[in-house]
Symmetry: C4
């Protein structure tokens, strides 16, 4: 039994949620689960169909992207995961999908406006879309740079990765994260729902405006603030 | 066995309909079932996933929002349910979802126009959208005030909660109700269907107009009028 | 065993296809199957949920709308079915749904333009939308008049009910028919697919034009013409 | 046992994927699998429902469209398949569907712009839409000419069928292909996903532009270039 059995199972279970939640077709996505004490994460192998996955096929990689255990090649997006784990110390899982509506916003190079409480229950700002990276970065170590593309956006916009657990990478697709791999996938599904509702909102009322401040904070606070009263 | 077993089972069954009818993901919704003779209702516990629910986990709350039986914390929207039960004496069930299309209309702050007989089979008016409440009300007892936000809208527009069993809460999402919890959920699904058709209607014909009066009344009357001939 | 067992089973099976093909929720639809030699048809009882149906619950009605066998009240749309069977001698089944996209076109009061071969495989004309009936007709025998509303449209536009087996009733929803109840339901599903594609086509290209004549006829003829070579 | 058992099973399995991937209703599609050494392909029989298919019902046809084995009539689109196999020597499977979004783009007579990496992972150009053929060609051997309509477009636009494995036939629907029948169906599902995302992208941002060159090539190359590192 691998010493990384726990994160292999967590990563496997989280990856299997992607097709169940209609967030991917074929191999369009990957989830990882980190073990911070060991300084590694388990991630989906590249190009393997979900119905052929098993916990044992998960690849163990360190935070510099070096494979530590496993015979399969890890997801082609592995370096993006590695960079985020290395620099954002409080996340335990990362999910990447090409879910339909979130990807369409990423392709449209637009932030998703916070139009309602479904969105505000998760975060009180627009979900930002990182502009495409420079040609030099693309031609360099592309997936590695994608991690910095995301972190640079958060720095520029003074966002906290602990409060906002989702982002759109321009012309590409969303990345989400959280304390666990399961939470990262949860956030992917929520982002997809928010992305769809936001487009519909603009179609119903092209002059729709963002949620008022008081309501935005009320919903975020009742779930995440010091006096939160949502959940058990 | 709890003396409230009947409403616990009714509330449980109705809550379980929400994911089955594709009206919620994760914990995005809650349904309650009232026992008017006992002056209480059973409601979903807060933040518990549908596949982990059971009748025993339903929380019994009185019409002032005080928990009467149950160890879990009730839905964060419990006070909204309590207010509606307290003031609207003829309803036996309430449902709240963030279903995609109805929520998009709520986010767009628009009433849903009565474009066809699918809508008129249920009610003969536009489905109204309550404007967002004042900042004072939000910062006060928010969920309690949401109940009054809904009732105030009905008073202003001279609507009867017994004829129109659904409403949009601006920037938030829909609430529906009925004689039973099951009927409240039924109304949530109907509202979602109407909301989707209404957007599509406007997309197909931006100049689409409401149903003519005679047809509106005919369909409502054949289901709900004194000479109704729909159903058994 | 009823002497009408065959059409009861045909009607039952065809009705059960409606939820399976995602054409209805709850009781939003009805299908009938005719026995022309006996001058009757079997139709869904009114307001009964699909999962509670059985062949025995189908109601036998004659072409004047009089119940011949069965204890339940027939569908509230029964008179529309009766009128069509009485006047259109070569149809053996009728289906009525409130399927999302077809209903949206009906609510928008627009004909569905023939944009592609999916549509032309079934008929070579726009799928017409009958204008709402006059107030007098609505207040009279509404469902009976709906049958004439449909037939009048076909007369005015010189359409053949044997070539075009589908219609939109303005502000209401679609009716489809065919040699059998099964074919009527098949046509409902095809109409829904065509209705969705037509809206998307206009969204992708607001200047989209109808299929050229030669292509329209080629596709219709290869399925339905004298030298047809589609199917076995 | 037929000497063509392998391609019969490959064609059967690939055809059965179409309804599973929600790419067809009823008989709206067909897939074939070629045996290049024998100079034949196995294809779905015409107008037979998917749930009635079996490997034995597949029809064996040569590259001139002549039936070699099988008692059923082959798909009405058989000659299109035959022409493509005859002229494009490196394909082993072809799929044709009327999937909703791809067909809508074909009906709109528009190329699908390459808006993101989901598209660029498969090919670095817009997915082209062949203009409708001339009336003479339609009235001639229509399905045979459809093959040339596709090949002519690839010649005109200097496209390689080995790099771009999908096309829209104007006013009709998509065709896709690949080394195997399974890959052809895979491409049909990917095309449908790309087609939906592209429409949504334009709806979210009517001024959306294509992916920048560097990113387009990066994604295509990492999957298909000489130094590709996607998959196992």
């Amino acid at each position: 039994m691998s010493r990384y059995q726990d994160i292999k199972e967590a990563a496997y279970n989280a990856n299997m949620q992607l097709p169940e939640l209609n967030l991917v077709i074929f191999t369009f996505g990957n989830v990882s689960a980190a073990d911070r004490s060991a300084g590694v994460f388990a991630i989906k192998p590249s190009g393997v169909a979900y119905n052929e996955l098993s916990p044992d096929k998960m690849v163990i990689v360190d935070f510099d992207g070096k494979t530590v255990e496993g015979t399969l090649r890890p997801s082609s997006d592995t370096l993006t995961h590695a960079v985020l784990y290395k620099h954002w110390h409080h996340i335990g899982g990362i999910a990447h999908t090409h879910s339909t509506y979130a990807t369409a916003w990423a392709q449209a190079l637009r932030h998703i406006p916070v139009f309602g409480t479904t969105h505000a229950d998760y975060n009180s700002v627009d979900i930002p879309c990182a502009p495409p990276m420079s040609d030099e970065m693309i031609k360099g170590d592309y997936e590695y740079q994608t991690g910095f593309q995301i972190m640079d956006l958060f720095k520029e916009q003074e966002l906290s990765y602990e409060e906002l657990e989702m982002v759109l990478v321009g012309n590409h697709a969303p990345f989400t994260w959280g304390k666990t791999a399961e939470k990262a996938v949860h956030n992917s599904a929520v982002l997809e729902a928010i992305a769809k509702m936001a487009l519909l909102t603009e179609q119903i009322n092209p002059a729709a405006t963002r949620l008022k401040e008081a309501l935005k904070w009320k919903h975020f606070e009742r779930k995440h603030g010091p006096g939160s009263y949502y959940g058990q």
